[in-house]
């Protein structure tokens, strides 16, 4: 009898940390759009990681033709430049490849910050309530009142234009939506019977939050995180296009601004400004496809 019941809780094998982290992300693998989004992201991530080996040139290097002329405004294919060059003589293809790096860094960092801050604020405000809740929710109200793009521009201008400041500005404003939603979700979870049961059995607040609340909230955090990716990339593009971007790093928004300033349209240099635009659309839509998948997990009834 004792042998048959050897499978106590202590002997239950703990699955690997990586697998558990993967499972905790609740990737929406049931939805074809979400899978397409994830595939697009994977491609971008691979390109961003191997950017130095994929890119044919340094994206900021000013290039010269074989006859020592500035390699300006070359068409795709001319002189071996796959997608042509810019007016300043830089390789468009290499800029696109490197641009994926800054787009992903900004997108993922902003998403991470937004999800992290929003989740912490939401869980703390919702779980503990009282004056903590009041203060945090009034701060969220203030954040709701801040006009997003001007705030990012002003902050970037004050602190010096760098992609980190763009990320910081985004995090300071966008946590409000995540925080609000996660707070209300926490409020309903806090009153679940099993949470009260955990309290009666002597679990501390921290333990209850980590064990019973956060696992139920993570999909929401990821939903808002994946929405923030798109927002962040769009915002960075807008800021760079307006000329407040980081001059040191090549991004798709910077490419658009460069093309605009160099009158690429009147030169008919579609190869210069269409690809970054398409890539922005592609990666932002991929982010929304993934968030749609999370929505389907979270709110299955929306499907009808």
């Amino acid at each position: 009898m004792a042998d048959a019941t050897q499978t106590g809780p202590a002997s239950v094998a703990q699955p690997g940390l990586l697998r558990r982290a993967f499972a905790a992300m609740h990737l929406p693998l049931g939805d074809p759009f979400a899978i397409a989004g994830i595939v697009i992201y994977l491609v971008f991530i691979v390109v961003a990681i191997f950017a130095p080996s994929i890119a044919t040139h340094d994206p900021t290097e000013i290039l010269f033709t074989s006859d020592f002329m500035l390699a300006a405004d070359l068409r795709p294919g001319e002189e071996g430049y796959i997608m042509g060059t810019t007016t300043l003589g830089r390789d468009v293809f290499s800029q696109l490849v490197w641009g994926s790096r800054s787009a992903l860094i900004i997108g993922l960092m902003a998403a991470f910050m937004v999800a992290l801050i929003g989740t912490i604020v939401g869980v703390v405000a919702g779980y503990f309530g009282g004056w903590l809740d009041t203060i945090m929710m009034r701060l969220a109200d203030i954040a709701f009142g801040i006009p997003f793009l001007p705030f990012v521009i002003v902050l970037a201008a004050f602190l010096e234009p760098s992609i980190w400041n763009v990320v910081l500005a985004m995090a300071l404003v966008l946590w409000r939506d995540t925080g609000r939603v996660i707070r209300s979700q926490t409020l309903t979870l806090r009153n679940r019977v099993y949470v009260e049961a955990a309290r009666v059995s002597g679990s501390s607040d921290l333990k209850i939050i980590l064990r019973h609340i956060v696992p139920n909230i993570l999909p929401l955090s990821f939903l808002y995180g994946s929405i923030a990716i798109g927002w962040a990339i769009l915002t960075e593009a807008s800021i760079s296009f307006l000329g407040f971007g980081d001059p040191e790093s090549i991004s798709w928004g910077y490419m658009l601004q460069d093309a605009f300033a160099s009158q690429a349209l009147s030169k008919g240099a579609y190869y210069w400004f269409v690809p970054p635009g398409v890539l922005i659309i592609l990666i932002v839509s991929a982010g929304f496809f993934i968030s749609r998948g999370y929505e389907k997990i979270l709110f299955p009834k929306l499907d009808r």
Binding site: P9, A10, V12, S201, G202
Partner: protein, 326 residues
Amino acid sequence: MTALISLQDAKLHYNVGGILSSLRGEPQVVKAVDGVTFELQKGESVGLLGESGCGKTSTGRMLVRLDVPTDGSVAFDGEEIAALKGESLSQFRRRAQMIFQNPFEALNPRFTIAASLAEPLENARIPKAERRDRIHHALELVRLAEPGQYLDRYPHLVSGGQLQRIVMARALILEPEFVVADEPVSMLDVSVRAGVLNVFREVRAQMGLTAIYISHDLALVRYVCERTIVMYLGRIVEDGPTEEIVQNPLHPYTKALVAAVPVPHPDQSHDPLPIGRGAPDPKNPPSGCTFRDRCPMAHARCAVEAPGPTKVGNRTVHCHTFDQAA
């Protein structure tokens, strides 16, 4: 001999009107519990009986510190529960437990039964090596055959009756002295109810538990408790030995309650209930005795003055009919 549990004029009031109505000087207060006084001796089992909204569940929640009284005192073994902190609070958590109404919601659906049962053990810092035995022992205590089969299952794969026994096992796993059971069988099917009630009764006797059994059904309370406290709109109306209350209810509300319980016999009284129509409104209770608007015996004094406790034999009744006679 000191009482294990002692409530002294305990109150739990909720402000439901929000800031605006408070500013207007007309705060809307729901008096979930409005001045409840009783004591429980060690080993006693007491039924808290009343309609929904009478404050029975709120009272039970205060006893395990899921709610903190807004006024008055709730003491456990001589110590004010609301003041417990740190180590003394975790000591209290080991000694006082609760069995919840809905077993389908009382266990986290993401956890296996074993993980749910391990939680109180972790909190009490029971060494890992001991936990498995304790879990087995607790499941055997609630008469679950072959406890090993439940450990790795998730709650949705276990039937209601078994689930409620598991919830009971979790409450008993730290060998508490005091248990509050909040309508533990109301969500269960009739054929399994009796089984859960029998386990509760047997375990209580075996462990010498002090218990509060919350229910709206006097027949169930009678089955597990020697003493019954009847509540109406946040106050106690009658308190005494269950059998006496069943045979000869004194308070007019208890009379109606006893008369209203259906019995599983073809031959039973179909007399109209000795109670007025309408329903208790916790937001706006009548002045004086809160039961007077439905009471067939109400007179002028009932509107002015809330009746205090009157001793009638073994019982305490809160009704002006009896304090006049006394």
